[in-house]
């Protein structure tokens, strides 16, 4: 049986520290920001947004929401629009895979993604001299002009598969496959598991009444779930319309 | 979509998509190939010159498409709609039977009743041995005078009716002379001889399309008028006394010779 890897992110535990973003970038050889890069041109396969209740002063409440590729299961918006099959939904893992070597950089998938979880390499990837020694050997560097996104640390999945194969097993041990952001989160806010396994704690957490998904009404069946007990966060998340918000993009 | 892609399998979408675009592409390519093939074929079957001539004829202004019978004064006004190919004209017999009324003045350009004239200013002479001599008519000779260079076809080369018979260069202008009839070149002359080419046609040629008698007079008269018009555009006059000056190209280098030569040799 194929797996469906997914996450449940506890927004009550997210402190917005950004460790997931740094760990993700480090694991996946994401280049540091180009000098002119901004929050709109950067590459952050894992991205923490600030949420607010819209009030100012002492009544203000803030929370943080990590956004990565939601690995949409149904009518995956990016898969169906890619003109040259550079994006596909891996049937055995449920992960939406991006093949940078086949991507022509048309960015149609980016306009299709309602979660803005896809990033374009606007610049040549560059590190300070010598820093290429610190690159993760398991992941190749993407070139300028292609789109990239979270692939749930596929190199780690690959390693886990190899380990399982070496041990003569067909299925991987989930303990061997932990994406970098999950591993890095200092509060353990991100839980990673196999949503196809009904006994997986993540599957159960995803079914709790506190759990929800972003833009669920669009019907793409994202595999990243969130949960919160705080009413204002839930109310904000359930508001799928594009009403004006005071989201902090200062 | 294609079998070389990972995880490939056929679906109805593939089949519809491929057949639609395959059909479209096939239609486009076959159109292009068909066009090219027909073009090649036209050359192979010696139809190219005729096709070109017809194309060019379509572009001629009305003044240069006057029917020979109008020129001969048989009818008041008539435009040719058969590309000067009277052999296929259904009205030829009927019109040719009418009495001619050719103009008298020819501005010193002489013509012979024994020769047949082509609208591209060549004459054709039927020789005793079944060949036809082709030469430049006096009007053209007045214009060109002695050419700087002449490039004649090789012996045994085929020329096509309305195709290029020979080319001349005069004062930097390249002049392509249309062949009045089709056949094999068996002898070449030149400006110094009384003919340029001797052509052996395939079988008995039909030369009905060539002008003769009063038609030639009318035609040449019209040509002189045309020439006069074109020259006066360039603020030059022909020699007074009504006689065409010899060696016009040398004597009037400032005229729009491109236009004159194009009209004269119907080579647009």
């Amino acid at each position: 049986m194929s797996a469906r890897y997914g996450m449940v992110i506890d927004l009550d535990r997210c402190t917005g520290c950004g460790a997931c973003m740094i760990a993700c970038a480090s694991e996946n050889n994401v280049p540091p920001a180009a000098p002119r890069a901004t929050w709109r041109t950067g590459i952050t396969p894992m991205l923490v947004h600030t949420l607010s209740n819209g009030k100012e002063g002492v009544d203000r409440r803030e929370a943080f929401i990590p956004i990565a590729c939601m690995q949409c299961e149904h009518e995956t918006p990016c898969v169906s629009v890619c003109p040259q099959q550079a994006v596909e939904l891996d049937k055995s893992t449920g992960i939406v895979m991006q093949m940078p070597q086949r991507c022509l950089g048309c960015r149609y998938c980016m306009t299709a993604c309602p979660y803005h979880a896809r990033y374009f390499n606007w610049w040549d990837p560059q590190w300070p001299p010598g820093m290429e020694h610190s690159l993760n050997p398991g992941v190749s560097v993407r070139m300028r002009g292609v789109v990239e996104k979270c692939n749930m640390c596929h190199a780690r999945y690959h390693d886990a598969l190899q380990k399982a194969a070496a041990a003569g097993k067909k299925k991987i041990d989930l303990a061997d496959y932990v994406p970098a952001c999950v591993e890095a989160c200092p509060t353990g806010a991100i839980a990673f598991g196999n949503l196809a396994d009904p006994n997986d704690p993540v599957t159960m957490a995803a079914k709790s009444p506190d759990a929800f998904r972003l833009l669920e009404s669009i019907g793409t069946e994202p595999k990243i779930h969130y949960k919160t007990t705080q009413a204002w966060i839930r109310a904000l998340a359930d508001r799928n319309s594009g009403r004006p918000t005071e989201a902090q993009h200062v | 979509m294609f079998p070389w892609t990972d995880g490939f399998h056929w679906t109805p979408t593939h089949i519809i998509f491929l057949s639609l675009f395959g059909a479209a592409l096939l239609a486009i390519l076959s159109t292009a190939v068909w066009g090219l093939w027909n073009t090649l074929n036209a050359f192979r079957k010696h139809l190219a010159a005729a096709t070109c001539w017809r194309q060019n004829f379509g572009e001629l202004p009305a003044t240069e498409r006057r029917c020979r019978h109008e020129l001969a004064g048989r009818v008041p006004s008539r435009l040719c709609d058969h590309a000067f190919d009277c052999r296929t004209c259904p009205n030829y017999e009927k019109l040719a039977a009418l009495p001619a009324n050719a103009p008298a003045s020819l501005a010193g350009v002489s013509y012979s009743d024994d020769l047949l004239y082509h609208r591209g200013h060549t004459w054709v002479r039927s020789d005793w041995d079944g060949t036809f001599a082709v030469g430049l008519d006096p009007f053209a000779q007045h214009l060109v005078g002695s050419p700087d260079a002449v490039q004649l076809p090789e012996i045994c080369e085929e020329v096509e009716s309305e195709g290029v018979a020979w080319t001349m260069v005069k004062n930097g202008h390249k002049i392509r002379v249309r062949a009045p009839l089709a056949g094999t070149v068996i002898s070449t002359g030149g400006p110094d001889r009384d003919f340029y080419l001797k052509i052996l046609p395939h079988g008995q040629p039909n030369l009905r399309h060539l002008l003769k008698g009063p038609e030639v007079a009318g035609w040449l008269a019209a040509e002189v008028v045309r020439l006069q018009m074109q020259m006066s555009n360039g603020k030059t006059t022909l020699a007074d006394g009504g006689t065409l000056m010899p060696d016009l190209m040398d004597n009037e280098p400032g005229a729009d010779w491109d236009a004159v030569l194009e009209s004269t040799f119907i080579d647009r």
Binding site: R36, R40, T41, I65, P77, S80, V81, P83, Q84, Q85, R102, L104, G105, R107, Y108, A112, P114, Y115, H116, F120, N121, W122, W123, R144, G145, V147, L214, L215, S217, I218, D238, N240, S241, G242, R243, P244, A247 | M1, F2, T13, H14, F17, L20, A24, L25, A27, I28, W34, T39, F43, C52, R54, N56, F57, E59, P61, A62, R65, D258, R268
Partner: protein, 420 residues
């Protein structure tokens, strides 16, 4: 006359009235400068990458896609006039056919050129033909645009070889003769491809489930925008053609086509525009009340961001839709050349606005509940690249007008000669 002018004259049809060489060069000069600037800007984008633009991850499509969609709609006159003349036998439109072909060719080839700059890895653009994804509207667009460009080139060659010097080459002339026989086939294939192409450009945004502002339900695999784009394109095509001819007449100071041709083009535009406005109204109604709420988006919120208020919706429907349609159809107004041209201009603006809304507004609007409304101003490189395409269009048309028989009127009276 100088030597250059003499040589130039040799390439112009003998009895055509054309501006002097100097005047023509003077006219071309600014356009050539603009073209060179555009090439420089595009070169920057190739060399340094798309960071030269002001596009970003959120505005992944920018001005280029908006204007590509627009000029391809404008270029629809090419296939549609061909379709009218050769398939529907509306032969009185023949005088503008060559103009339509040139306009179509420049619009399509210009759009392809901009697309090549727009993609991050143009060297891999051909992967679409090798690993095509049949479910993608962009695959459809790519296939249609490249096939149709072939058609346009094939349609343009016969016009090209009618040049005074080129026609001296016998094989060209013979090929032209042969090609003429095939133009109806090309017109048919071109119409099919182009209908599909305009449609799939509409589908491009209509299928975006993740962008509820653009998402539309539809028929089979095609969202309603597929059909609306076809309709609006064939409505604006004749209008744009009319404007181009009018501009050519104004610039050259000659009467190039009969006014009846204008009226006919206007009438076609008007009828199609009326149908389009009606269809668009129904589509908008269904979208506002069914499609968008079903995706969880309150439709009127889309219009709560300045400057994208509902006046945009109104403007696209009434002054830029219904009004020109009426001006085109009602005989009293259609008699006036000025009103006709005004209607044509309004139609073009309406389609521009529609393409703008579909591309730019879609991306500016938030989707996630905490998204901000985004602004985007194109960089000079983007503007210059597009300016280059515009200049390319003007230059190609000017050259074509000068050296090729663009209007039958310029060919003299030799019209009804039977060639065979």
């Amino acid at each position: 006359m100088s030597e250059t002018a003499l040589i130039d004259r040799r390439w112009i049809a003998r009895d055509a009235e054309r501006a002097s060489t100097a005047r023509f060069l003077l006219w071309l000069f600014p356009w050539v400068c603009l073209l060179l600037l555009g090439i420089y800007a595009a070169g920057l984008c190739f060399y340094y990458g798309l960071n030269q633009t002001n596009m970003d991850n959120r505005f992944a499509f920018g001005m280029w896609i908006f204007l590509d969609l627009s000029i391809i709609a404008m270029g629809a006159g090419a296939f549609f006039t061909g379709f009218l003349v050769y398939i529907l036998k509306q032969t009185d439109l023949k005088p503008v056919l060559n103009t339509a072909v040139v306009v179509g060719l420049t619009c399509y080839s210009g759009a392809v050129a901009v697309l090549m700059v727009d993609v991050g890895q143009p060297l891999r653009a051909w992967f679409t033909f090798w690993y095509p994804n049949t479910h993608s509207m962009l695959t459809e667009v790519t296939f249609c645009i490249s096939c149709y460009l072939l058609v346009l080139i094939l349609e343009y060659i016969p016009v090209l070889v009618q040049n005074r010097q080129l026609r001296r080459v016998p094989s060209f002339l013979v090929f032209e003769h042969q090609a003429h026989k095939l133009v109806p086939v090309l017109a048919g294939v071109g119409a099919f491809l182009s209908f599909f192409h305009q449609g799939s450009l509409g589908g491009l945004y209509g299928v975006l489930r993740g962008r509820p502002f653009a998402y539309r339900q539809g028929f089979a695999i095609w969202p309603s925008t597929f059909f609306l784009f076809i309709l609006s394109a064939i409505a604006v095509g004749p209008s744009f053609l009319m404007l181009v001819v009018a501009a050519a007449e104004k610039i050259t100071g000659q009467t190039l086509v009969d006014f009846r041709v204008y009226r006919k083009l206007g009438f076609i535009s008007g009828v199609l525009l009326a149908i389009y406005v009606a269809a668009k109204a129904i589509d908008t109604y269904v979208w506002l009340n069914v499609t968008s709420p079903r995706l969880g988006f309150g439709p009127w919120d889309y219009y709560s961001y300045w400057p994208f208020s509902s006046t945009f919706l109104f403007a696209a429907t009434v002054p830029l839709g219904l009004l020109p349609a009426i001006l085109f159809i009602v005989p009293r107004t259609a008699r006036h050349r000025g009103l006709l041209l005004l209607a044509a201009a309004l139609t073009c603006c309406g389609v521009l606005l529609n393409r703008f809304v579909m591309t730019v507004q879609t991306l500016a609007l938030p989707t996630l509940p905490f998204d901000p409304f985004l602004k985007y101003i194109p960089s000079w490189q983007e503007v210059a690249t597009f300016g280059g395409v515009l200049a390319y269009g003007v230059i190609v048309y000017s050259l074509s007008y000068r050296y090729l028989p663009m209007f039958e009127a310029t060919k003299g009276e030799a019209k009804n000669v039977s060639l065979d």
